[in-house]
């Protein structure tokens, strides 16, 4: 087992006492496995990634367990996390322009983790940086070692970010919306590159995205998050086949589809994402759900197994499965 996250809680300090940003998130990733995390702003996707990286905001409290290669990460101090980050666990961010240092040449930025974690000297680190740039298929890699980030295109900068992430052959790669800032044709190349590298190195990949299409093409299993917890999980094909949770179904139906034609109304999810500070005691989606009954508001629904490895936090999966449509719109936000 590469990564085992068990009942992860994160609470953040706020003006009126702590708020629960993550409410018992559990999942595992094996070596060579790709797992997707999907959901909208404020659902806890990025908070999960930050907890794994030991980059939670000041004052945040983490509880539960995160084991990477058998080692417990919750409660680890900064120095110990620094030794892991960029070494055993690496991350690719959404915006490569802000994630790279504009004042340093890219060769130096790729060499940094090699010198820090693997103790290579300057010459060896530079040679390895060149090999990495070639591996991420950056054209004219040797010349680009001395380029500054602003001299590269968005896609090229993201390739540099990937090279940095791969430098120390991490066990786990986290990619947080890695292609959201890129054009579609470049997005396709970058996703293919990530998939290829993950397969070659036998890394685990945690891909965070809001795009259902990206998920469908890239990951083997996926988790759908809402209100700080995982509300549906399963093999990607099964999740798309059943859209078992009303929120998953709402997300899918809200997306304009190519070939759908003009003028039709898009299905919307009534209301809006609840504030983490005032999450209801029961199902966080209850206020927006067309299938809601009284019991939904009483307690957080348990994860019900509805297929092999496919589970949903909803107390009415049969009622939802029996319906082929999303209930009519309520008031829009």
């Amino acid at each position: 087992m590469l990564l085992a996250v068990d009942d992860l809680h994160v609470s953040l300090p706020a003006a009126y006492g702590p708020v629960q940003a993550l409410r018992g998130v559990s999942f595992t990733i094996e070596r060579g496995e790709t797992l997707g995390l999907i959901g909208e702003s404020g659902c806890g996707k990025s908070m999960t990634a930050l907890a794994l990286m030991g980059l939670l905001p000041e004052g945040a409290q983490a509880g539960g367990s995160v084991r990477l290669e058998g080692r417990e990460l919750v409660g680890l101090d900064d120095a110990a996390f620094s030794a892991l980050r960029g070494n055993r666990i690496a991350m690719i961010f959404q915006e490569p322009m802000t994630a790279l240092n504009p004042l340093h040449r890219v060769g130096r930025q790729i060499a940094e983790p090699l010198r820090l974690h693997r103790g290579l000297d300057a010459q060896a680190a530079r040679a390895e940086a060149l090999r990495l740039l070639e591996r991420v298929q950056l054209p004219e890699a040797a010349r680009r070692l001395d380029a500054y980030p602003h001299q590269l295109s968005g896609g090229q900068r993201q390739r540099v970010m990937i090279a940095i992430a791969l430098a120390c052959r991490p066990g786990l790669l986290i990619a947080d919306e890695p292609t959201t800032a890129l054009d579609v044709t470049v997005q396709r190349q970058i996703l293919a590159l990530i998939a290829e590298l993950v397969a070659q190195d036998g890394m685990g990949l945690l891909l965070i995205s809001h795009d259902l299409g990206v998920m469908a093409q890239t990951v083997q299993r996926m988790l759908v998050m809402y209100g700080g917890s995982v509300i549906e999980r399963g093999p990607t094909a099964e999740v798309f086949r059943h859209l078992a949770h009303p929120y998953t179904r709402g997300l899918f139906a809200a997306r304009p589809r190519l070939g759908a034609g003009r003028g039709g109304r898009l299905q919307t999810i009534p209301g809006r994402v609840p504030e983490l500070a005032d999450l209801p005691p029961g199902c966080a989606f209850a206020e927006r759900c067309g299938w809601v009954v009284g019991a939904c508001r009483e307690a957080m629904p348990p994860a019900l197994e509805i297929g092999a490895g496919h589970a949903v936090r909803c107390i009415r999966p049969q009622a939802i499965a029996a319906n082929s449509v999303v209930p009519a719109d309520g008031a829009e936000a």
Binding site: E40, S41, G154, D183, V184, T185, V186, Q187, R188, L191, H210, D211, L212, G213, V214, M215, A216, Q217, A237, F240, R241, H242, L243, R249, G250, L251, F252, A253, A254, R255, P256, R257, L258, G259, A260, G261, R262, G263, G264, R265, L266, Q267, T268, I269, R272, V273, A321, S324, V325, V326, E332, A333
Partner: protein
């Protein structure tokens, strides 16, 4: 159907910083001899990748900068030859909605002032009139008249984009130029805003010049489509037709690259 917008031989070149004292500063041709027309009631989508010239085109149509060559005529008026005063008055006919609902609203102004600004620019200064029009505009986009007293930070991203749309709508323009108006929004909020744009087209007769990198979004809003690459138009025509049977290899490459989730039997 009336002729809304005529763009003829529009070119725009930008001079880049000099790289060497011995060579002239490099010039990038952001737009290269673009011509097209728009009829009222037929919204036009413009797609293309970064650097294709989409946003430059939007700025020129909005008369926010002067082209190197060519003309932009809105309802017969050449926008780039108008005096500053005449241009301010003409702006009532064309308004813009920007991509980022966080950056495009002044955080220190009330929603009342933000939404009323185009009216004030066009010369409608009377307070009670402005208040009434702001209330109408906010209600048209699904907000409440009472929201006029609040500040942008009190709203979510989707609501802010509604405020930006209310501001664009308040002068009852014939044309709204929308540059990636939903790409910063979550999927479920994006659907609400796209439905709103369709309602406004039906109820107020506005026509959109809609810039987006997302072909499915463009297909949802626009009758006509124009595909740009490196400052030139590579394909144009009825949106449905192009998306079904693209002629140009670049359009086909764009279409092929769109990641689509599998069709689901449980929804629609």
């Amino acid at each position: 159907m009336t002729l809304l917008l005529e763009v003829e031989h529009l070119s725009q070149a930008y001079t880049l910083p000099r790289e060497s004292l011995r060579r002239p500063a490099p010039v990038v041709q952001a737009l290269d001899d673009i011509s097209f027309t728009m009829q009222s009631g037929r919204s036009l989508g413009i797609v293309g990748e970064s650097g294709s010239g989409k946003s430059t085109l939007a700025r020129l149509v909005m008369a926010l900068e002067r082209p190197s060559r060519g003309t932009v005529r809105l309802l017969g008026q050449d926008l780039h030859t108008l005096s500053p005063k005449a241009l301010r008055a003409a702006r009532a006919q064309f308004q813009m909605v920007f991509q980022d609902p966080y950056g495009s609203l002044d955080p220190r102004q009330t929603v009342q002032r933000i939404v009323a600004e185009p009216l004030a620019t066009a010369g409608t200064a009377e307070r009670s009139m402005q208040r009434r029009r702001v209330a109408e505009s906010l209600e048209a986009v699904g907000l409440r008249a009472a929201d006029a007293a609040r500040y942008p930070h009190q709203f979510s991203g989707g609501q802010r984009q509604r405020i930006a749309i209310a501001r664009a709508l308040i002068t009852r323009p014939a044309l709204i130029v929308a540059d990636e108006p939903v790409s910063a929004l979550d999927v479920s909020v994006q659907a609400q805003v796209l439905n709103l744009l369709a309602d406004l087209q039906r109820d107020f007769g506005v026509t959109y010049l809609f810039i987006s990198h997302d072909l499915a979004v463009v297909e949802h809003v626009c009758e006509e489509l124009l595909v740009m690459q490196r400052g030139r138009i590579v394909e144009r025509g009825a949106a449905q037709q192009i998306l079904r049977q693209a002629e140009h290899p670049y359009t086909r490459a764009l279409l092929a690259a769109v990641p689509e989730p599998p069709q689901s039997s449980v929804v629609q």
